[in-house]
């Protein structure tokens, strides 16, 4: 599994990264949450509102800070 947080380094992006990391830890997964700050990469994924959460190359949430619980639910499904 590959988890990425897309954002240009604002507070909200940091908050989402932290929540994603919490969720990964709570689920006992051994994956690192990757931060994507490169605009070209963000653009390639078709994201216009940051922060966004990408799981296995698929955009699952954009423009909002998901809570750790919400990320967990998303990763489970």
């Amino acid at each position: 599994m590959k988890i990425q947080v897309l954002g240009t380094g604002c507070d909200r992006c940091k908050a989402l990264t932290a929540n994603a990391e919490k969720a990964v830890e709570a689920l006992g997964l051994s994956v690192a949450v990757e931060k994507v700050e490169d605009l070209r990469e963000i653009m390639r994924l078709g994201v216009m509102t940051t922060p966004a959460l990408v799981v296995d190359g698929k955009v699952r949430a954009a423009g909002k800070v998901l809570t750790a619980d919400a990320v967990m639910e998303l990763l489970r499904s």
Partner: protein
């Protein structure tokens, strides 16, 4: 709470708003939680209305009875102003942000982009400015949004109209102005803010500044994947509203209190009419001064309004104050720094210069006609 159900993880076709519930039990549960949400909403509104009605009597009681301050003293005036305005503005803010959160759940950046794609310049500028008001926007998303717009061929000037209107015509500011000064001031703010966004985008578009966009923007352009759209029901929208309140009010309340504290100080300690001399109508240079001070400053709309209220009360002219407010919230250093990633300095300078000029003209116009 939605539990992961097998086969429910993929989105429904965009045409139907909600998938048909599979069983009657599921349908009943959905209906019950809908009723519960509606009841909570109604209860919340009732509590809000009661609290709002109590703010004035309670603030006077607290300032003059409990604290024993004299209504005619300066300290008494300031404290009463603070105790009245702080809860009032915070209550208004909660209600407005909730409402706006719901309205915005109907608009996404993707939908806005689809609406703008393929528009001609003039129509596009107007539409972009209007959509800038209702589309969810945060200055940290300015760059991805810019790229997303340019990518589908939306002209530079139209994109810039959107980027001017989105922060400058702020819905929180609009409703606070409406609540504190009445519809005329609010309408002036809305109309002139939109006019500046339309005109600035149009002029910038005419100037053919595309060469000052970082070259890689156009070079790496290709159609991006479209990601799935959320489906929201009544409940989803209410949740969006609550989320917006938590997000926005949770972040801006210290600013609001600081703004009200400044306003309270001005209210109690600055003599009536003192500001009329150098922020009044007769001082033509006060508008450029207000813009020059306002552009590098950054505060959010909710924090600047109480200051506006206090300044107006002491004889500052409306045009000057409005120009100050627009330049504080419409142009900000952090956003400019972010935009620098895709725009080269000449374009940034043109952008800031033309928007500032628009604000300046609006300030003078108001001071001249009102």
């Amino acid at each position: 709470m939605k539990l992961p159900v097998l086969g429910e993880s993929e989105e429904a076709p965009a045409c139907c708003a909600q998938p048909a519930p599979r069983t009657t039990a599921e349908a009943a549960a959905r209906g019950a939680s809908r009723v519960k949400t509606a009841a909570l909403l109604a209860g919340g509104l009732a509590v809000w209305a009661a609290a709002y009605a109590l703010v004035h009597p309670l603030s006077e009681l607290a300032a003059f009875r409990v604290l024993g301050l004299s209504p005619s003293s300066r300290l008494g005036q300031s404290v009463a102003f603070f105790l009245y305005d702080a809860p009032k503005v915070l209550l208004l803010l909660v209600l407005i942000v909730f409402g706006v959160g719901i309205v915005r759940s109907f608009f996404t950046a993707e939908r806005t982009r689809a609406l703008l794609a393929g528009r001609r310049e003039s129509v596009g500028n107007v539409l972009a400015a209007l959509l800038g008001v209702v589309t969810p926007f945060c200055s940290c998303s300015a760059v991805p949004l810019f790229l997303g717009f340019v990518e589908v061929g939306i002209p530079l000037g139209v994109t810039l109209s959107f980027l001017v209107a989105a922060p400058m015509v702020n819905e929180v500011a609009l409703v606070l102005l409406l609540g504190l000064f009445g519809w005329k001031v609010a309408a002036l703010y809305l109309v002139t803010g939109l006019a500046i966004a339309v005109a600035a985008g149009f002029v910038l578009g005419r100037m053919k500044l595309e060469r000052y966009v970082e070259p890689w923007v156009y070079a790496s352009m290709k159609r991006s994947e479209v990601h799935e759209r959320e489906r929201l029901g009544f409940q989803g929208r209410v949740e969006k509203g609550v989320e917006a309140v938590r997000d926005v009010v949770g972040k801006v309340w210290p600013w609001v209190l600081a703004g009200i504290a400044v306003g309270a100080g001005v209210h109690g300690y600055v003599p009536e009419g003192l500001l009329a001399g150098f922020m009044g109508k007769s001082a033509w240079w006060s508008v450029p001064a207000a813009v020059a001070i306002g552009v590098p400053m950054y505060s959010n709309a909710a924090g600047i309004i109480p200051v506006v209220e206090a300044l107006l009360g002491k004889g500052a002219a409306l045009g000057t104050v409005l120009a100050f407010m627009m330049s504080v919230i419409g142009l900000s250093l952090p956003e400019i720094v972010i935009l620098r990633k895709v725009l080269r300095p000449p374009l940034i300078a043109a952008f800031v210069g033309i928007v500032a000029l628009g604000i300046l003209l609006v300030g003078w116009l108001f001071n001249a006609v009102l």
